[in-house]
Amino acid sequence: MADWKGKTRGGSFGYFFFIKLIQYIGVRAAYFFLAFVVVYFIPFAPKATGSTWRYARKTLKLSRLKSVGLLFRNYYRLGQTLIDKIAIGSGMTNKYHFKFENYQEFLDVLNSQQGVIMLGGHIGNWEIGAPFFGDYGKNINIVMYDAEYQKIKEMLEKNSTGHDYKVIPVNNDTLTHVFQITEALNRHEYVCFQGDRYVNADKLLTATFMGREADFPSGPFLLASRLKVPVVFYFAMREKPMTYHYRFTIAQPVARTRDRKPEQAMLEQYVANFEKILREYPEQWFNYYEFWKK
């Protein structure tokens, strides 16, 4: 059963160390140190290691040997994406290459003078996209859980690495975020969700993902199916060498049928897209908890 608590692992010292390393020695030096951090994390983050191990064995059905390899690559890729986020946020964009899929279709949607909902997930480094959307970036609102947002905000402020997008923090005790989302869409802005994590276990949808049943938050899919705006599935995947591959898919409109609610139909489109990409980049799965049902 999924039990993510709304906070992302990673101590303040760790972030601080890598931010300073990137600023003073460079990105490649940070990657070098990362290899040691990976070795530390495998035994000292047992919950995360256990969940990734079970992902490799039960979901990807890898052998024990291949699962060990995936575990190393997974932590290394996670560290790389965090380093890249800091480096790009500090203006080192010229060190990276960027590839785009369906970019023109995506820009046509952004230029269509209406709000847009973008759905991503905890694979790759989707948050890294905002600086590359140029003027569009100013209109991006990322919806994230309050506890996670407070931690990221504190670190970014402490180290003067800002971000180009706006954040809509979700707090289950208030209703403010719902109106912030609808008002942003009414202003023809773009609202981004990560569709694969929840903290409110009362509002879930279920789908078969990578061959196993899993729960997903109903909120993003309910909004995406009810509010009459275009929906784009968006992922930014890390590739060698120093490259990000942006993948955009425009969702088909969904309607209520006798057997299926529109939010379930939207979830199924999302899951099909998410699964296709995860199968191409299985090591970039960054949900460190028991994601699938037993």
């Binding site: 209703l175 975020h177 719902v178 109106f179 609808t182 008002e183 009362d202 909120g219 909004l223 509010l227």
Partner: protein, 81 residues
């Protein structure tokens, strides 16, 4: 549309969408508790109002709504503008 017609239309829409008995919708009853709304259901309220009455409810508007009567007043005021 008269005020009575607007109120009748609101009650019909809310009863159908949130699957409640229309008789429990009374002007002085609390809107959220009576319809058992949570934050996600609010999206439906926003969409229903936009589709049926042609305006967008903001957070500021919603903060003033406690009872069904407050909700009727908001819709009547906006549709008559």
């Amino acid at each position: 549309m008269t005020n009575e017609e607007i109120i009748e239309k609101i009650n019909n829409i809310l009863a159908e969408e949130f699957e409640v008995d229309k008789n429990i919708i009374k002007p002085d009853a609390p809107l959220m508790r009576t319809l058992e709304l949570d934050s996600l259901d609010l999206v439906d309220v926003v969409v229903l109002v936009e589709q049926n009455f042609g305006f967008n409810i903001t957070g500021e508007d919603f903060a003033k709504i406690r009872t069904f009567q407050d909700f009727y007043n908001l819709v009547i005021e906006r549709t008559q503008k």
